[in-house]
Amino acid sequence: MPGKEKSQVAANLGIQRLLVLILLIIMKKKYMNPYLAGTMLGLVLLMAMFISGRGLGASGGIKYCVVSVVGALDRSHADNSVYYSKYFQEGKKPLTNWLTVEIFGVLAGGFISGALSKRLRFRIEKSPSISNTRRLIFAFLGGVFFVYGAQLARGCTSGAALSGMAVLSVAGFVTMIAIFGSAYIFAWFFRKNWI
């Protein structure tokens, strides 16, 4: 049946063209238009609310990784601690927690996006006026501070501020204002690192 084959070829070509078009839209600019990307992020958050009844989170997943490592290394310490023990009650496994699996998804999603937009490269991003060591030390310190603060506030920019704002929670708005407010104040002290 040559006619049928022909239409099949045409359909295949059509699908290929569509895929190429989508790829072109994604790779057209270096980064996606921020408003479009924001809409996409908002829709992902809406999906999380609609399907699982919860917001997004990132620091929670980091905490669960730590908790599971501590639990594997020194179980008795974990069971005796006020903090760790609640994550092991009733046979709970911190590694198969919603948040933990979600951050592995974030890794995968970031990798796919980076691959599509050809941004996969090992490098240290920094201001030319500072050394690599300085950048890495500050990155490490930043991580320590940020996640410590996120544990205290029960969520980071995604878990508390973004998801909190989407459900109109006061905690979300207060955390958001505190994060950005304090970052603006501290920005003056660390300006050499960035500009």
Partner: protein
């Protein structure tokens, strides 16, 4: 950095979100829920004979300690303290309407049977729950009045008793004994029992905790 295209998108997204915001501001949003489903369907479910359990059926549930049953007493706490059905919990009708009923009714494997003095409050609570989508809700027909006259004060008036009737009376008498035991407890013990039966809000999963 392409300023121009960013600006155009900004204008579009601002227009879109602002109009959506205006629509939302005009809607009567309260954050509460409304009934769901087609009215006819909800009505026929409410009027369905299977929605109503007789006091004898409830007596059997109590005697056999059926664990798929939850008795919800919607009377006032005072009335509940005076006459407590065995294995029942107390959620006064106004508390029931004021709160999200999900914390009481979320277990789909359990039949929730509402009880009040007569059929009035219990049927309202049942209709309210069914409208919100909890199909696992029932009513004890006749309420505590019927319960008292049929089960507690049950006496046999007839010539001969059949095996079937005998079983029925056996159940009634055992249920009445459980009921009387429950209600002869001193008030302090009963209060303790009521406290233990209080519902606490189900914790939702979420956040970074």
């Amino acid at each position: 950095m392409n300023f121009k295209s960013d600006m155009k998108t900004r204008e579009k997204i601002s227009a879109l979100l602002l109009s959506a915001g205006i629509i939302l501001a005009l809607l009567p949003l309260t954050g509460n829920r409304s009934f769901s489903g087609k009215p006819e369907k909800v009505l026929s479910e409410i009027l369905n004979a299977e929605t109503f359990f007789s006091v004898d059926q409830v007596a059997r549930f109590i005697v056999t300690e059926d664990s798929t049953i939850q008795l919800i007493d919607v009377r006032s706490p005072e009335a509940y303290r005076k006459n407590t059905m065995p294995r029942s919990v107390n959620i006064p009708y106004n508390d029931f309407i004021g709160n999200d009923p999900d914390k009481y009714l979320n277990n789909r494997n359990i039949k929730n049977i509402f009880i009040s003095d007569d059929d009035y409050d219990s049927s309202l609570a049942m209709a309210y729950s069914k409208g919100l989508g909890y199909s696992n809700c029932y009513v004890m027909k006749g309420g505590l009045k019927e319960w008292t006259s049929t089960v507690i004060e049950s006496t046999f008036t007839g010539e001969r008793i059949s095996a079937r009737e005998n079983a029925l009376f056996e159940t009634r008498i055992r249920a009445a004994r459980l009921f009387n035991e429950m209600n002869s407890l001193p008030d302090s013990l009963k209060l303790k029992f009521m406290e233990s039966k209080k519902f606490s809000a189900k914790k939702l999963d979420g956040g970074c905790e």
